[in-house]
Amino acid sequence: MRRSAASKKKSDSITTSTTDLFRSASSKATTKEMDRIDHLFNQYANISSNLIDPEGIEELCSNLEVSHTDIRILMLAWKMKAEKQGYFTQEEWRRGLKALRADTINKLKKALPELEKEVRRQSNFADFYAYAFRYCLTEEKQKSIDIETICQLLDIVMGSTFRAQVDYFVEYLKIQNDYKVINMDQWMGFYRFCNEISFPEMTEYNPELAWPLVLDSFVEWISEKEA
């Protein structure tokens, strides 16, 4: 770790010894923190790959006392900027936990509500929402996600805030035949839909605007159901 160099750079011999002490104390603290973070990492990581794999994540979840399909795990991944679903690299782990100032399981557990608040802030949620989609892309050139996964993802990500829309949309996706996959544009479209259109009235919805076609069909399906 190069961090020691960072904290030691330009150590001026003229500076007071207290600041010096302080610096070395904090750097020691940081080092200690990082050590504990790394130690925590090793508890869950797979020894040969040096990654936390799905097994490790499951264990982590049970220790955190959340289900592995809980949105908070996804939020944690977001905070870590984790790239591959089901895996955390050491760097990602360090990044996330450092940002959360959590170096023990308990601290991590305690940090989760705060994290959730942060993510749910208007300014962050759209980014999180898009992240959730990307996170599920497993293949290299993959651009869309199959319907079943989408339905699960929707439930996790939007279920608590937009229950009705998610339920209806999931039902629609399951019975329709036009789409086998959903792409990013359609995914984001749904987010916009939930935020901008009143449900179930949907009076503001105008299919002549640039809503993705899948949503046009969805709205049409609902109106037919109501009729």
Binding site: K143, S144, N183, D185, Q186, G189, R192, E208, L209, A210, P212, L213, D216
Partner: protein, 738 residues
């Protein structure tokens, strides 16, 4: 005597005044037609000189003021004492006449006395800022006669006009004079005429025609009403020329139109059994022309008429389509004369537009909208685009054989086709069906009229652009070039010294111009193989780097069938020939054997065998002798076959590729939409969703009407392929991704 000037004695007021009075009395008598001698020059001069002197004398004997007042006094007194009473003691027409005559008299009197008092006008009236003599005299009449009379006069005039409207004779000249009087009494302006007469006249006219309209609309049919309305308007116009002032005309006509036509428009035009729709239904062109004339001048007056026209034409067209649909269900064949009938319908109603409706744009538009509705309907599942292409195909085939079709009929039919195509939105379907049928005409029928084919393409190109016809033109050019190759090949064979063998031609087609054809790797009879090889060799000498792909499915063969009773020449397709030639070596073959030997697909083989064993000409015997081909059948050469002709054509019906054509066109449309969207975004860089969609539709409208949902899907696809992206600020806007 007191001498004022060297020449003449002074004229004092009393003397001068009495001289004038004398002349005035005399004048009055003359003007009133009483016995009186005319003025002689001396008297005239005397009057003039008297006044001249009285004006030029030095004060206090300068009597200009008094003379002016006297002048006015003369008229005032005459008006009050004589003129007005004489008018007022009379009534009606007599009163008018008196009024008119008194006016004429007044005019003359003013003229004469102005001559006498002339000198006043030279300096006095201007200097004293007073109205000149003429004006003063006229004003007197106006103030003392006209003002008291005009109301009654107006009543009488209007009563007389009413009489005339009720078809009674009246004295028009009198009215003209009196109304002229009204005008002139306005001095410089028209306001006397307008306020004292015209206003009331227009009101009266309105209520008169309003009553008429109410009674006519109850009792008359629409044509009858219109005739009366037209007649009334005509009469009112004449009235203006006879005695009204020309300024009244526009107001009068508008007033009459408003009550006779505007306020009753709905009742009139929608009148049951005789209104607009009924007239159209019964082809009453004269009445419709009248309706046009009447409503043309009224703003928005023609709209209900053009709407009725549009509905009528639409319903006529829909009826045609329905009839064709019914016939098709009964006969199982779609009659192509539906196209002929649509053309006739178009012609019929175009005449309406040009003649009844004077080429008015509203009616062109109505006709267009009507045709666009029913011309895009299907008949028994076949689109109009395809029907039109079939129509052209049949027409061209017939015109080859039927020499009675002269050039102008052909020309006009072609023009009608182009016109009709304009109404069809799926023009690209037409192009594709037409192209396929053109290919068959050129390749299979051989006998085609190059000139006619080019004529229609030229017209289509002019109307719809070069892109529409470029492939088809290429096809025709190919046929011309093919001829060159035919002779070239013959020369080549001749020069090669090899025996000619079979009579054999190859037509080279440029891929891309022609529809795509499936071909199979047919195992040709040996005799044909060497021909193919020699042509390939020849072609190599002509061009390099070209690949020849042989399409046997389009070939033709002439075979000699050696039947028992007599040999018959069979004109068959290459596939059929291959099958028949297989029997040269074996008496009997099974379906499977044929399949393997020839390397044809099931669908093709079944078709071919059907045409040879289950159709009109049974060249082969099939066992079992059922009506359809099955994979377990076996076949034998039918040596007993014969026909009264020495040469017969055994047709191989083409595969019904209608669905394929539609699919191909729909695919092309997707590419066209993609290309269009990218083109638009490339130039616009940033564009809103609605703008993009509408511009796309606009640009493609020449060839087809794109479905909005399809466009949306293509946009999403382009977003996925990263040609476009949504604007992060405004998700309803797209940005071009370079």
């Amino acid at each position: 005597m007191v001498f004022g000037r060297i020449d003449r004695p002074i004229i004092f007021w009393e003397d001068g005044s009495s001289i004038i009075d004398e002349s005035v009395t005399k004048l009055k008598r003359i003007l009133e037609g009483k016995p009186e001698t005319a003025f002689v020059t001396e008297q005239y001069m005397k009057n003039y000189t008297t006044i001249y002197d009285m004006c030029t004398q030095k004060p206090p004997e300068n009597y200009s003021d008094q003379l002016y007042n006297k002048f006015r006094g003369i008229f005032e007194e005459y008006a009050k004492q004589t003129v007005l009473p004489s008018i007022m003691e009379k009534h009606d027409e007599y009163m008018l006449r008196e009024f008119s005559q008194r006016w004429d008299i007044n005019k003359i009197m003013v003229k004469w006395l102005s001559h006498f008092f002339f000198y006043l006008d030279r300096f006095y009236t201007a200097r004293a800022n007073l109205p000149n003599l003429n004006k003063a005299g006229m004003t007197c009449f106006r103030d003392h006669v006209y003002e008291s009379i005009h109301f009654n006069a107006k009543q009488v005039i209007i009563a007389l006009i009413h009489k005339e409207r009720e078809d009674q004779q009246i004295d028009r000249a009198l009215l003209k004079n009196v109304l002229d009087l009204f005008v002139q009494n306005g001095m410089e302006s028209m306001d006397r005429y307008e306020n004292d007469f015209e206003k009331f006249f227009l009101e009266e006219t309105t209520s008169y025609y309003s009553r008429k309209a109410s009674s006519w609309i109850q009792a008359d049919t629409c044509p009858e009403y219109m005739i009366k309305a037209e007649e009334s308007l005509k009469k009112e116009k004449e009235r203006v020329t006879h005695y009204l002032h020309s300024d009244t005309e526009p107001k009068l006509i508008k007033g009459v139109q408003d009550v006779l036509l505007v306020s009753v428009a709905k009742d009139l035009l929608e009148m049951e059994d005789s209104g607009c729709s009924a007239l159209l239904r019964d082809d009453k062109t004269d009445d419709l022309a009248r309706m046009y004339r009447l409503y043309h001048a009224i703003p928005k007056g023609l709209e209900p008429v053009s709407e009725a026209f549009r509905l009528h034409v639409t319903s006529e067209g829909n009826t045609l389509i329905r009839q064709a649909e019914d016939k098709a269900t009964n006969n199982n064949v779609v009659e192509q004369d539906v196209i002929r009938r649509i053309i006739d319908l178009h012609h019929k109603y175009m005449v309406y537009v040009t003649e009844c409706f004077q080429n008015h744009t509203l009616f062109y538009k109505a006709l267009k909208q009507a045709f666009e509705i029913f011309c895009n309907k299907k008949v028994a599942g076949i689109s109009s685009a395809e029907l039109l292409a079939m129509f052209c195909d049949n027409f061209f085939k017939k015109s080859l054989n039927d020499k009675s079709n002269d050039e102008s009929t052909i020309e006009s039919t072609i023009e009608n086709v182009v016109k009709l195509l304009d109404y069809i939105s799926d023009k690209d379907h037409f192009a594709e069906f037409y192209r396929k049928k053109l290919a068959r005409r050129l390749l299979l029928d051989r006998n085609f009229n190059d000139e006619h084919e080019r004529t229609i393409l030229t017209k289509l190109k002019a109307q719809f652009g070069g892109q529409f016809t470029s492939k088809m033109e290429g096809m025709l050019t190919d046929m011309q070039l093919a001829k060159e190759h035919h002779s070239g090949f013959d020369t080549y064979i001749g020069n090669s010294g090899k025996p000619k063998g079979m009579d054999f031609t190859v037509t080279v087609l440029t891929t891309g111009f022609w529809p795509s054809y499936k071909t199979s790797d047919l195992n040709l009879p040996l005799e044909m193989v060497s021909c193919i090889e020699s042509f390939k060799a020849y072609y190599e000498t002509k061009t390099k780097h070209r690949k020849l792909m042989l399409i046997y499915s389009l070939g033709n063969c002439h075979l000699n069938g050696r039947f028992d009773s007599k040999p018959i020449e069979l004109i068959v397709s290459t596939y059929q020939a291959a099958v028949l030639c297989a029997f040269n070596n074996t008496e009997r073959l099974t379906y499977q054997e044929l399949l393997e030997q020839l390397n044809l697909g099931h669908e093709d083989l079944a078709r071919v065998l059907h045409s040879l064993s289950c159709s009109k000409y049974k060249i082969l015997n099939k066992e079992p002798a059922t009506k359809t081909i099955s994979k377990t059948d076996s076949f034998e050469f039918n040596s007993k076959f014969t026909d009264k002709l020495r040469r017969i054509r055994v047709p191989l019906p083409p595969i019904d590729d209608r669905r394929r054509v539609v699919e191909d066109v729909d695919n092309d449309r997707r590419y066209a939409i993609d290309a269009c969207l990218v083109r638009i975004m490339k130039s616009r860089k940033v564009f809103s969703h609605q703008q993009l969609v509408s511009e796309c539709i606009e640009q493609l409208s020449r060839m087809f009407k794109p479905d909005i949902k399809v466009i949306k899907k293509r946009i999403e696809d382009l977003i996925g392929r990263e040609f476009l992206e949504r604007d992060t600020e405004n998700p309803n806007t797209y940005k071009y991704v370079a």
